[in-house]
Assembly symmetry: C2
Homo-oligomer: 185 residues x 2
């Protein structure tokens, strides 16, 4: 029985295709229709509904899927200097591309969603930024809230730019550089 986990084989493949399509399409226009996503996934609208009954169900699934990819990273870099961790997140985020754009395009898109721990991630970020401050990588004159907002803005921007103008790693380098210099003492 492969019921609950990730469902092996063909089943898992189309599921992923739909999620990827949703990320790609919704990253650019969150009001895009399910037809548009099905088309992008090269799947009939019926099939899409077989995997995700609701529009909401697809949103939720994409949300947890995207967050899961972010969480994969956490463990490796736990005890590095805080600013290095932030840099790591930034680079990893840029690599995630559409998923990140989907996640951070609109701060209140997921308000009230049980899977969106508005506090959780934010609390971790605050702690990280505060640690970076103690370690001398962030100036005292920078409010924590601004550092966090700027972090997401830079991440989002780099992810977006690397879809068009600049190669991914160049965009990531620029993002890292810009953020470090913006908040440095």
């Amino acid at each position: 029985m492969t019921t609950d986990q990730t469902e092996r084989g063909a089943r898992a493949r189309t599921r992923q295709a739909v999620l990827d399509a949703a990320a790609a399409v919704w990253a650019r226009d969150f009001s895009a229709s399910l037809s548009a996503i099905a088309e992008r996934a090269e799947v009939s609208r019926s099939t899409l509904h077989r995997y995700f009954t609701d529009r909401q169900a697809l949103i939720d699934a994409l949300l947890v899927d995207s967050l899961a990819r972010l969480d994969t990273l956490d463990d490796d870099v736990a005890d590095a200097p805080a600013m290095d961790v932030l840099e790591y997140y930034l680079r990893a985020g840029v690599d995630m591309g559409d998923r990140v754009i989907f996640l951070f395009a609109d701060p209140k898109r997921f308000e009230g969603n049980p899977n969106w721990s508005d506090d959780d991630g934010d609390e971790d970020m605050r702690a990280l930024v505060d640690r970076a401050r103690v370690e001398g990588a962030i100036a005292d004159r920078i409010p924590t809230s601004w550092a966090i907002t700027l972090f997401y803005a830079v991440l989002y921007t780099a992810a977006e730019v690397s879809n068009q103008d600049l190669p991914r790693h160049v965009a990531a380098d620029l993002a890292v550089q810009s953020f470090r210099r913006s908040v440095a003492p």
Copy 2:
């Protein structure tokens, strides 16, 4: 006959109310319905349609209105150092709040709109950034395209933050500071 210009009196007032409401609502969710905007403007949907026949007509009107507010600035600061001009834009932009969020939330929202001179504004920005580079305020390692994208990102972020967390002028200061340091040699 007050036909074409800005239409005096009550006429102009409701028109502005609708535009303001559209900016406020669409800044947060561009797929919001006209009903939502009418409600925000404290006006019936009928009245809204009397002023703007189309959804598109309202979008266009808000676009030109917002751009017009930006253009008001241009003349005063023509011969200042380029980076000071950019700073001026940044501060003025933050003050415009929702209008700026509406304008710059999605780079391709207005693609193909006759009022949106994708080249015009972009060309001016490129020239400004290049001048700032010559004047030594922007490092050579920073691609012009990144400087421009980052500028809008910081502007957008500051405008958004100043709606919630931080006082307007503080957000503006932080934005200016962050941008200058990000691109400085």
